[in-house]
Structures are given as C-alpha cells and as structure tokens.
C-alpha cells in the first residue's frame, strides 16, 4: 500500500507536536529539530519510538540520526570538521538528507542543522513505501 507523501508529512508533524511539545505552526519543512524546535538528544530517541508506532515501521538505531561513533572517530573527523571520508560515510548513512549546504563547511557544530522536518518526512516516506 502506498501512502502519499502529504499524508506522511501530516503524521510526522503530529508526531513532532507530541514529542517536542511545540505548536503545529512552528513545524515548517525547513525547521531544524534542535535549533528551531528545541529538541534534545533524548527527544531523538522519543521521535524514533513514536514514528515506529505511528507508521508501523522499524527504524534501525542510528539510521535516522547519525551515530555518535562517527563523530568521535578520528578517521572521519579532522579539526572539528568532518573530512572527506567522514562526509562520504555520513551521506551513505543518511541518504534522506540534503548535504549541499553542509558540505561547503562540514563543521561538526553545524551538524544539528541537518535534521530538518523535511528530511524526516523523506526518510519515513522511503521507508514506508519501499518494497
């Protein structure tokens, strides 16, 4: 069964409203989870739980949000920035994210900006309608 991207986004928004206690109108496509919506690390796990339940899917740990081990691995990080192999690895792990902006200056401090409402919708969309 295929669910339209619109339906998915509506459900994702509802999930974010519940998980983060924000207002519906704050959740724009471009809103960043941490910067704009005030999410903390524990909220990411909460969001994963809620999405799994809402869509009846399984979200492997560290697939929707990148693994900490990557950020602490000197193989991927040089001077507080993701190096080329780090960026490659991240792209591979998060195909649902648009890296164009981030790739220009892959500062680790800007990592949180990668998590936007739209990227979650895209991720869930791929997941639900795959196969």
């Amino acid at each position: 069964m295929t669910i339209s991207q619109e339906e998915i986004c509506t459900k994702v928004r509802e999930t974010l409203v519940d998980a983060l206690g924000v207002d519906d109108d704050e959740i724009t496509d471009d809103a960043t989870l941490m910067g704009d919506l005030g999410a903390e690390s524990i909220d990411f796990l909460d969001i994963v739980f809620r999405l799994e339940k809402a869509f009846g899917i399984k979200i492997p740990r560290e697939e929707l949000f990148p693994p900490e081990n990557l950020l602490n691995d000197p193989q991927y990080v040089t001077n507080g920035r993701l190096n080329e192999s780090g960026l490659e690895k991240l792209k591979e792990q998060m195909p649902h994210v648009d890296f164009t902006e981030f790739a220009k200056d892959p500062d680790l401090n800007k990592m949180p900006d990668l998590f936007r409402v739209k990227s979650i919708c895209d991720y869930v969309g791929n997941k639900v309608n795959a196969g």
Binding site: I42, L45, F49, E52, K53, R61, N69
Partner: protein
C-alpha cells in the same frame, strides 16, 4: 500491588496529612504536588523498566513526555499508580501511566527512561549501580514475591 515483568506494574501511595510539605502546599488546603505525583509514577515505572532487563542498566528518568492532571490528590486519598511499558530497547524505554483514586482519574503521565550505560557511550559513570543498590534489591525481592503470589508478606 501487581507486577508483570516487562509489561506493567501497579503501586499504591497513601497521601497523608503527616507529610510535611503539605503544610505549605497549600496552607489550609493541602494538595499533593503534581511534581510528586510524577515522582511517584517515575518510581513505579523505574522499577518496572529496570526489572525488565534484570537491573543490568542504570535507569534514569529522561523525559516527562506528558503529564495531565484532572483532579487533586489530597490527604486521605489512596492513589493507585499503574505503569505500562510502551517501548523497551537497549538504550531507553517509554511508559504510559495512570493515577487513580477509587473511580476518579487523577492524572495521566507518560515518561521516558534512559539506560545511561548504553545511551551515553563514552561518558564515565560509577561502576556500582547507584540506582538499584543492594538495599533496594533486597526490599524488592521481598515485595515482588508478594505481588506475584497475591499473598501479602507477614
């Protein structure tokens, strides 16, 4: 009161006027503070979540996802706290709970717990389990038998 491993736990809290904080909350009109209702639910479900994975991890309250209160809990009330596990994974758990007094629904509380040893990789925590220490464990053994057989200990 009742304990089903990995599923649900029911606990009782008798609200007594002898509790000192009730003198100030509020003077002349004692009400159990909502923060303590959440704490009571956190204790009930903390044990449930910890036991579900055999107390291997230190279970920490990470998030109060939802707390809705419909009525006041007042001295003389016997609160029945029921916690049900919604999600349980290696690094965290979520529960939803209700607090009732007889037929009155006092509150609905959803909590999230973190297993800090698993979710905070790289951060050092004390070796010993400061959440579930020895005296807690021996107490629990005593009462668990109770809850599972339904026969009160003498």
């Amino acid at each position: 009161m009742a304990f089903e491993s990995g599923r649900r736990a029911v606990a009782i809290k008798n609200v007594s006027l002898a509790e000192e904080h009730l003198a100030d909350h509020f003077p002349g009109f004692p009400v159990m503070p909502a923060s303590l209702l959440i704490e009571a639910m956190a204790q009930t479900s903390g044990i449930l979540v910890g036991e579900a994975r055999h107390f291997q991890e230190k279970v920490i309250l990470a998030k109060v996802s939802r707390a809705l209160f419909h009525e006041l809990a007042r001295p003389g009330d016997q609160l029945r706290l029921e916690a049900v596990i919604e999600n349980l994974t290696e690094e965290a758990a979520t529960i939803s709970g209700t607090i009732r007094c007889e037929n009155r629904l006092i509150g609905e509380i959803s909590l999230m717990f973190s297993h800090i040893d698993k979710s905070q990789a790289g951060v050092e925590f004390p070796q010993e389990n400061f959440v579930f220490n020895e005296s807690f464990m021996s107490l629990l053994q005593f009462y668990l038998k109770d809850a599972q057989t339904g026969v009160p200990n003498p």
